[in-house]
Symmetry: C2
Subunit: 720 residues, 2 copies
């Protein structure tokens, strides 16, 4: 019987397992090494088949109404003789009763190493391939990894290597290494199957046994058909019926508008949030700004318009901040007046999870789609673009920088940019808060930023995504040219619940997102603070050759903690080799100067010739990839009336980097005592470093974390 | 043959395995359910034994020169008939050749669930019991846990529950739950064995099979004898030949000295570290302070003495800061003058890892022990006791508090106390930096602080310990009365290396230290920053009933991150039950006020009656254990010209706590914008909270981490 026919025949049912034989035949066609088997209807047939297969064999009683063979006693393994086969056949037939239809005869595959492989459909990313430790341990240990399809060979190899128990696949206790090539074919085959057959909901191959000779055999498998609808993660609807180029052009206009109309403007209140109109005006927006309010002739001394139709021109951007029930009419006004670029600030839609909000959401979605509107929001803070003096929240730096930030959360958009620019000197090119993503989604903004010359680094705060596959494809490509730093909120169970009530987006399972990061190479951070620290490293360093760091500075206990931090973050803090130590000892005397790594040497900080020479020697070797200078300000302040601190800062900015051979160098500024003189020295130092383009961190942990992400990113790029 | 005799006979060898039979017989005596077995010298004997045991059986060829039976093909399993036994016997005898002595006949134990148990000797803690997933997965998965002996039943149960794969021990895939009582007896038996038999170096029981009926059978086991010397973690030497009471009294005098002599005083330098003498004087030490310097008549205008013998009195504390080679003579001077309480600041001893330092270390150790000196150091910063105005470093707060801190690292002692007191308002009773621990060790200071009424919380920074078992016993007891917060440095490989070069102490393996924390209940932190955050929570809250938190505040994206943080730290952020939501909705309208958890409700912060009522309702339920108030200062500052912030602070301090039913309440102060007015409001708020005794944290992550440690501590105490 042709497998495909059989599948097509069953396809009308909603969710139904294929038979064991059908499952195996289908999978064999996709490279899965299924165990040989034959069907026996009669006991003499079973004996004859067993003899031709060779003992020991396995006998299974099967039938379309039999689901759990093992539990029903319908599997007999390790049958070593015709007699045993005969007895077992009778037993199985009796145990199966009316459900019994036939027996399967298979060789008894022996192997202590059992794995499991499979295919599932993720609601956000579509087909995902699974591989893990099998046998009875699958659930108990939970050592399984995922990949988002499609997988190429190198993805499959990386996937296998990620398994905690992958040592079992090497030569192991007298058994040969597993046939990895075969495993790779299984995983890439499952990926192909997932893409070619949207009607297949799930595949479960368990166990897949690795024999003593390393051979791989799938002994049991189940294929489940689904409806084949909506689970393939093909985009449910095109966001707006425009080309990518058209959307890009529109976003360029929205982020650099020559004219803006704000609907729902009231007189600026003395207290609390001043409203969208005042935010834009206060930030110094130089374009034409129109307040719209049907109940007022003027707002804050400026002529107000009753509606968009009455405006003297079509505007580049309409900002809607009327109450939620009035938003549908506002959108109709947009359509009537030919205004297509909209930011809806108003909340009260699907994020409420309540019926009224959901209904209103559906209504505005329909209006927007039918009217071909390009909508940012609703339930979002909108835009911050320093170069065009565009800001739809209260306060931000007017300085531009190389980072752009896309944030589902408006609060995070404001808080992150405020924190990053005021505390860490990180400046932005475009910041877009897009909330419920009515028509324009993160992927639209990503495509725009990918082509935006002013954006060198993209940071994203994501809760859920509408089209996970598109996000995956986009980031996979963009990240190779511009680092994409992603914080994914809602990966824990309670976090996912909070996401649901926050933006109504679907938060994905942690293991799938782990695959997302592993495959795209996007830089994963788990907090906005981490995002800022990592962005700082990417701003300053465009390359990084490895993960071996050297720390120069002072203080014993801190060295221990630094070493522990490096180990945790995956940086190496290698012991310096004897030839290097010898070279250093030529000009650094032992007293008070430890030259292990960390290098805890007073002389290095006190004598800048020694400092430069040390850097020359260290950077000239192939042993080290990056430098961390740790400055203990409380100690340094006691030297040369505090002027030493400034001197060191200037030395690092003006000289040190010339001695690092292009390798990243960061400074850790440690201050514990509240001494005001130290604080003053610190401000001076931080200003020197910031102006000089040397990233400073306030703890070794933070520096180590940021550098580890930098190293991992460049290792990923180098491997492509 | 009597097992004990056989062991005694072999004891003279350094490290030798017992035979399989001897091993099993010994272990059976300690409650290990060894598989039945019998010895067969002849083939007919093997057949007869098999028939009496019942098929299937296992045959093993053994002999004292046979180590790896399986690899040599000397194990035959699942023999189902006399014929198979006969054939196997002949095969084994031939395969064993001259090494073959006899065959063991055992029933073939079938079970898919394999575990391992064992005993090892940790260089710091002595006998440790191991339990883990067995079979071929032991090494590949590494799911093993340790406990420091002795183990009682409840320790053993906790140990079993800690295993990641412990679900395998429940009813599992049609097989019965494992006989946990038997497993507990195995683990407690191994603990007893470890304590009673110091000559036994190692026990390895692998596999221990859990059968389908839940029965536990150890199938193979190996016992290795060691020298029996120095590995039992009995203290190598008593630190000083005094009673605990005498040492306590001495430490009390050293921390509250009426007179101090400083050896190696030079004129206070204008630059850099001012020296011990100036440190003590500058801190306002009110007692009699004598500079000792054979080359000067006066120091900074004060009469100097050539040596201790010339002093007008014996002093309560001698501080030695002469160069390392002069320390032996300085100690001799101490002995000659009858001064016994010494702090050696000088470094250059075993921490250098170099020959000269090690030699000097041995010399001063000999002098100190023979002279009965009580030595803090060398290579350490010594004392900080605000109440007695004693400080041997440059700068510290003069305010006393309930926390005492013992630190192996001098740098950490200074940095942590400076940071904690100046930034977080945490104040100290006694801080002791003890470096290389020549005679007085962490355990001596612990015993002192345990009895010190002014110390309510003990914080420790440890690198290595001389007497791990004593530390374990002490902290086990003290922690039940005073929380002991421990940061253990050097748990990573590179960290351990840094420890070695830092204090020459031995850093223990991570898994053993994990057992240490689990068994003692000591609060584990991994950085000084974490230590400070946790100490703050312990200062303010003396009880905590559980781990279910509610967050009140504003800002959507932050709610998602908060939920993720709680999940990571092991706090729960429960969904509020319908009856609670209903009660809240009676006075909190839906618009702008989400009342899921986190509760993102403007009204709660704006109307303090609503705030108090909300707290009353939440704290009155059994669903919640703690409150986190999250204040977004940038937003709050825009309300009521910033006065709202101060009002909320006063409300929390004066009112809110009366409405929390004694449950912990902390405040998170979030500020992202650099606005100076916000900064000012923030200082005011933090002062109000600090004075009012409400701990404030600068991020939700930090608050959640500290509260999770508080909850875990009290859960541990409650379980005892």
């Amino acid at each position: 019987m042709c497998m495909v026919e059989s599948v097509d025949r069953i396809k009308t049912r909603t969710r139904s397992p294929l038979s064991e034989a059908e499952s195996k035949s289908l999978l064999a066609g996709y490279g899965v090494p299924m165990v040989r088997e034959a069907v026996a209807m009669h006991e003499d047939e079973a004996v004859a088949l067993s003899e031709s297969i060779g003992f020991p064999v396995v006998l299974k009683g099967v039938g379309k109404n039999i689901a759990h063979k093992t539990e029903r006693g319908l599997v007999k393994v390790n049958l070593k003789s015709s007699g045993e086969v005969l007895n077992s056949f009778r037993t199985l037939k009796e145990a199966g009763g009316d459900d019994w239809e036939e027996c399967l005869v298979q060789p008894f595959i022996q192997g202590r190493r059992e794995f499991v492989a499979g295919l599932a459909r993720d609601p956000q990313f579509g087909p995902v391939v699974m591989f893990g430790l099998g046998g009875i341990f699958t659930e108990a240990i939970g050592d399984v990894v995922f990949r988002i399809a499609p997988l190429n060979e190198s993805d499959a190899r990386d996937m296998i290597g990620e398994l905690a128990s992958c040592t079992l696949l090497g030569a192991f206790r007298g058994e040969a290494a597993a046939d990895t090539g075969r495993l790779v074919r299984v995983l890439t085959g499952l990926s192909r199957l997932g893409l070619e057959r949207p009607d297949i909901e799930e595949v479960d191959i368990n166990p897949m046994i690795v024999g003593p000779d390393g051979g791989v055999t799938a002994v049991d498998a189940l294929v489940v058909l689904g409806s084949g609808e909506g689970k393939t993660a093909t985009p449910d609807e095109k966001n707006v019926s425009e080309t990518t180029e058209e959307i890009n052009a529109a976003i360029e206009i929205m982020t650099h508008p020559k004219s803006v109309a704000v609907m729902g403007v009231t007189r600026t209140p003395g207290d609390g949030f001043p409203g969208m109109y005042a935010c834009i005006r206060n930030f110094g927006y130089p374009g034409r700004l129109y307040p719209v309010n049907p109940k007022a002739d003027e707002i804050d001394g400026v002529k107000a318009y009753p509606d968009l139709v009455s405006l003297p021109e079509q505007v580049d951007l309409v900002v809607i901040s009327v109450p939620a029930p009035l938003v549908p009419d506002a959108l109709r006004d947009c359509i009537a007046s030919g205004n297509k670029n909209i930011h809806i600030f108003t909340s009260g839609f699907k994020e409420t999870g309540e019926e009224a909000g959901l209904k209103l959401h559906a209504e505005i979605e329909k209006i927007a789609r039918e009217g071909g509107l390009r909508v940012v929001g609703p339930n979002c803070m909108g835009f911050y673009v320093p170069a065009s003096r565009m800001l739809t929240w209260t306060e931000a730096s007017t300085e531009s920088g190389p980072v752009s930030f896309i944030s589902q959360s408006g609060g995070n958009a404001q808080d992150f940019t405020s924190y990053a620019s005021s505390r860490l000197g990180i400046h932005f090119s475009k910041v877009i808060s897009y909330g419920n993503a009515l028509t324009l989604d993160s992927t639209d903004f990503l495509e725009y930023l990918a082509r935006d010359d002013e954006t060198r680094i993209i940071a994203m705060y994501l809760e859920g995504v509408k089209d996970g596959r598109k996000l995956f494809d986009l980031i996979s490509g963009i990240n190779l040219k511009k680092p994409v730093i992603v914080m994914k909120g809602g990966l824990s169970e309670s976090g996912a619940r909070a996401v649901a009530s926050h933006t109504g987006s679907m938060a994905g399972a942690e293991k799938i997102w782990r695959a997302f990061f592993r495959q795209t190479g996007a830089v994963r951070v788990d907090s906005l603070e981490e995002m800022a620290e990592v962005a700082k490293a990417f701003i300053h360093f465009r390359k990084c050759g490895g993960r071996r760091a050297v720390i120069l500075g002072t203080g014993g206990g801190v060295g221990v903690a630094a070493a522990d931090s490096c180990a945790k973050a995956g940086l190496e803090l290698p012991v310096l080799p004897p030839d290097l130590l010898e070279q250093l000892r030529e000009f650094i005397p032992p007293a008070g100067n430890m030259i292990t790594n960390p290098i805890d040497a007073h002389l290095v900080l006190l004598d800048h010739k020694v400092f430069a020479h040390t850097l020359d020697i260290l950077s000239g070797t192939p042993y080290l990839d990056m430098f961390i200078i740790s400055l203990h300000l409380d100690w340094l302040r006691s030297r040369e009336q505090g002027t030493l601190i400034e001197k060191i800062g200037r030395f690092i900015v003006d000289e040190a980097r010339r001695h690092t051979n292009g390798k990243p160098l960061v400074v850790v500024v440690r201050q514990y005592q509240p001494n005001p003189q130290t604080k003053e020295c610190r401000s001076g130092l931080e200003e020197i470093l910031l102006k000089g383009g040397v990233p400073a961190y306030e703890s070794l942990q933070k520096a180590v974390f940021a550098l580890s992400k930098l190293a991992a990113y460049h290792a990923f790029i180098a491997a492509r």
